[in-house]
């Protein structure tokens, strides 16, 4: 057990230890440098709603608060203009 460094590195795992590790989430708007979310582009906004057309929470999308708010207003505007449904099923 107390053998020095070399041997402890030789431990072989049955499954990769990285398997259970979650990838760090990030805000795609910050990363891509997007400053404005267009409400006239329903195909893009579709990424932020679930199958029923409801907004996805930040914990799933990884958006920062600032951009989650902007996504929400964009989706609501798109809904008003009948570009996206208010309620539906099997959207995707």
């Amino acid at each position: 057990m107390s053998t020095p460094g070399n041997k402890s590195n030789d431990i072989k795992f049955l499954t990769s230890p990285k398997l259970g590790m979650q990838k760090k989430k990030y805000c795609r708007f910050k990363k891509a440098g997007i400053r404005y979310i267009d409400y006239k582009d329903p195909d893009f906004l579709l990424k932020f709603v679930n199958e029923q057309g409801k907004l996805l929470p930040r914990r799933l999308t990884g958006n920062s608060l600032k951009f989650q708010r902007k996504v929400a207003t964009a989706v609501k505007r798109a809904r008003h203009l009948a570009l996206m449904p208010y309620v539906t099923d099997l959207l995707k």
Binding site: G33, I34, R35, Y36, D38, L81, A82, L83, M84, T88
Partner: protein, 135 residues
Amino acid sequence: MANAQYETTLILTPEKSDSEVSKLIKGYVKFLKTNGASIVHEETWGLRNLAYPIQKKSTGYYFTVEYEGPTELIASLELSLKRDESVLRFLTVKLDKFAIDYNDRKHKGLIGRDKAPAKAEKEKVVQPENVEEKS
């Protein structure tokens, strides 16, 4: 009062013919111009399916116009849109500087189909701005 840049999107009834629709659109654009607005850009999307029925109609003509004009103009524009029965829906949005920048790039064709030049442009634009914020 102060001028600002706005964007109005309309949905017009599909019961009208193309020529009638374009006539209506021209009328509204003229209304904007006579009330002291300068048109930045206008776009007709054509007939589109609605995501849900409005007034029992499942399609509509979409039209977007961007303009710069006085604030008082919006109220009178929206009043006339409300009175017009051939307008199913409308939405007026005040554009902030990012929206103006985005629309500007969109008109140049940098956003949408060819995304590669758009991305390059975006990075160019964004980076100097970030530096300013930090300092």
